[in-house]
Symmetry: C2
Subunit: 319 residues, 2 copies
């Protein structure tokens, strides 16, 4: 099927959700139009403020995301939501679950909702999420919320895609220790203790405060991640979260940190794409036989793996 990329981009800019969805599908897979789409989007990107939200299952991520969207829509902002589930085999389009939980936003033309699965894709998140964010950015979203389940490495990857990272916790889930284990304490710019009407909320805040204080000493101008208490289901504290996000954005802007973060993000993205391309070239050398032949020599003891790698690198670079 012929794809008119420039027309799709035009329609996405006009706010047509189908065009946005189609563009994300084109950049998610290994579509032959991927490069054309990326080239068309490049000059339109850079306006969206990307907020990452992560937390263990049960802390109320979906409810919090929905409440945040309501708050931003009240300000007239266009919002894109990228819901990344590393454990889900489903990808593309909005899942039924999204439609249900995002019920109040599903028919709002100022809100785009997209689900993305990464299971089974090595480095899938680092690969696909930035491209989808670019589409939402180019389509005119003021805010892109990237929501993911905190299950190990993935939330760190997500944080690497965001301008500001929000870590969600809830009382009485042993989250403090979990968070420390997962390295979550190193990635949060803003911490939210949701379900703050429950027993133990203050204890969670105290524990979190304590653990955040355990890090290296901060300089006077450094960012001290705030801890905000919310009851997202009743929209309590959500305005405070928005305020904390704005504060962090302003702090980054003032110090050039936002530009730095975005440059670092772009560098990582370029490097990932380049390494993948080089890896593909390696695999293609002599129809994939080069690596096999080298591996056989290593198994046979006539070549060591470093010398074999040298030959492989030479094969790629001297084409």
């Amino acid at each position: 099927m012929a794809v008119d990329v420039s027309e799709l981009v035009e329609q996405a800019r006009e706010g047509r959700p189908r065009a946005v969805a189609r563009l994300i599908s084109l950049v998610e897979g290994a579509s032959p139009h991927l490069r054309e789409v990326m080239a068309a989007l490049a000059p339109l990107c850079g306006n969206a403020y990307v907020v990452g939200l992560t937390g263990s299952p049960g802390v109320g991520k979906s409810t919090s995301t929905s409440a945040l969207v309501t708050a931003y829509r009240r300000e007239g902002k266009r919002v894109g939501i990228l819901a990344v589930d590393p454990s889900s085999p489903f990808s593309g389009g909005a899942l039924l679950g999204d439609r249900v939980r995002m019920g109040e936003h599903a028919s709002d033309p100022g809100v785009y909702i997209r689900s993305m699965a990464t299971r089974g894709h090595l480095g899938g998140l680092a690969w696909a999420a930035p491209q989808a964010i670019r589409v939402l950015d180019a389509a005119g979203c003021d805010i892109v919320l990237v929501e993911t389940v905190g299950v190990g490495q993935s939330e760190v990857e997500i944080a690497a895609q965001a301008d500001t990272s929000v870590v969600l916790l809830a009382p009485g889930m042993g989250d403090g220790i979990q968070a420390a284990k997962a390295g979550i304490l190193e990635i949060g710019d803003v911490y939210v203790v949701n379900k703050a009407d429950r027993d133990g909320a203050d204890a969670t805040v105290r524990e979190l405060n304590h653990m955040l204080g355990l890090g290296e000493a901060r300089s006077p101008g450094d960012w001290r991640p705030p801890i905000v208490k919310t009851v997202a289901a009743r929209s309590e504290g959500v305005e405070e979260v928005v305020a904390a996000l704005e504060k962090h954005r302003a702090w980054m802007d003032e110090r050039g940190v936002l530009a730095e973060r975005r440059a670092r993000r772009a560098a990582r993205e370029i490097e990932t794409i380049a390494v993948t391309a080089l890896r593909e070239r390696m695999g293609e050398l002599r129809g994939g036989k080069r690596l096999d032949a080298l591996a056989e020599k290593v198994v046979g003891g006539t070549l060591d793996p470093y010398a074999a790698a040298d030959e492989l690198v030479a094969g790629v670079t001297e084409q």
Copy 2:
């Protein structure tokens, strides 16, 4: 300090533990002698049978390893043990804990014990473990036991290094479900239910049997992973584990599977080394400024990340 690699290798072949330890230290880090050592080891490798052992904390991995070592030593075999702890910041030499738990083997000249930590090293395991295995192999070990804690991705990586993978479980730890989650059911060639004198051992075996049966249908010649019950602390069932390992090895040998696995392992290893080398070259382009300049263009919208990656690849390959 001058290092005489060929003398070290000679001494390691003679069974001197200090030389073995020194060689592992040389290949673990980014020692300038790494390549020299690897080249010297290459023709001496390929004799050791590499057995991976993994399981959650508390299933009795150390006890099982120790019991296996005793069984192999009784057959007069030389045994190397590589204890990999992805959560430990300590590396190099045998830890106090190893000496204690491996007490009966610590003074046995036919046994080498080495601890390896991978925390903080991205891809550290895939990187360092194969080299350490090569040292133990070249030093004349008949068996190399690679023991690791099952904590997510790491045990899959370890399995990729082994000729035969043993997955350890214990009754009443909810291991079945845990195992399925961690993808452990896909990597075991032999399953061991340790602490089989405890309540629930038969239930664990049944559950495991059921879950293993859920996989795709097997062809008549396919390997059906056996489940062996042990009480490692009393050496019960350990001979059966050794027999199961030998059976798997024979099965692999007959069908050329062992050669295939080793070739695949070598290919992955070569590729990892090559990709790392290319990544380093990218970082070094124009003193590291090339990638920064490209990232700035992407952030500024004058270049898309794919076109930027093309330039980066060109910079590496056209040097």
